[in-house]
Amino acid sequence: MSLDPGEPFPDLDLPDHTHRQRMLSEVASGDPVALLFSRGWWCPKEQRHLREVTAAQDEFEVAYARIVVVSIDRPEVQSAFRAGLGARFTFLSDAERAWLPRLGLLEETDTLHHPYRPTAFTLYPDLTIHAAYDGNWYWGRPTIEDLRKDMRAISRAVRKDFER
């Protein structure tokens, strides 16, 4: 499966942090998306990165953009992790590894948890990939400034009245 810019991202169907079944397209709901694949709550790098993302959630909210995190944590664990972060965005649980092998995002170095490799994608509302980030090394992850630039570029392309 190609996950390169310009390709459509699969419309993931997974339970969210409240156990409700969600489609990624429904969560996007017509807005640009920052889609973050995360190892899990235990990883100090994920904790650091998601704290930074959480600090930017106010901006995403007023700019009509979405943050979605996917991990192999169970929904109740995600719910607790999300509460600890103070996050208001959606977590999707792939505890059953329903999508992990299909996406080819297995973190091969962690043979204990078999989690997602930290990767990130910025998506147009129709789930077309705008940019992809490989976060194997921490500096490969999108900074808030990267996400800001991507959200601006996507919004400029999809909001007809972006420049009046």
Binding site: R20, R22, D31, R88
Partner: protein
Amino acid sequence: MGELPDGAAHLSFDGRTLHAGRGPGRCFMIDARCLQGEPVSGAYAHVCALPDEDAALEFDQTEVQQVRRDAMAWWIPLLGDALVSLTTLALDEARYGGAITVTREPVTWREDPFARIFPGTVVRSDLFCPVLPPAGPVVERYAGVAWPGGRF
């Protein structure tokens, strides 16, 4: 209250009962999706609003912003499967008149963040259908379309 914008529906509250459309009591605009599916019989609607016409704030006020953040952060997760739907109550393009959280069973209403603005009244209702809770944003999209309704 003028013409309904797309995505909005009228709902009336007289302090004790709810009526779809312009019924007795005060008329609000709600997220129309709450009334468009198969209704849940005997649901519990926690109406955090008053029939008094003066009970209103602007949607842009920080209190109204914050209760929606709280709804996203912990109120919706706290309700779990009990949640049927929720909607704010818009009075016009700018003013907030309250909110309704609808559940299948009685819950800890004292936790309802919307009750911090206007006190809640529990009303048994057959009007509301299940709507997936919002994944964002916390601000309304179009003036007059009650959050979380409306799409660009």
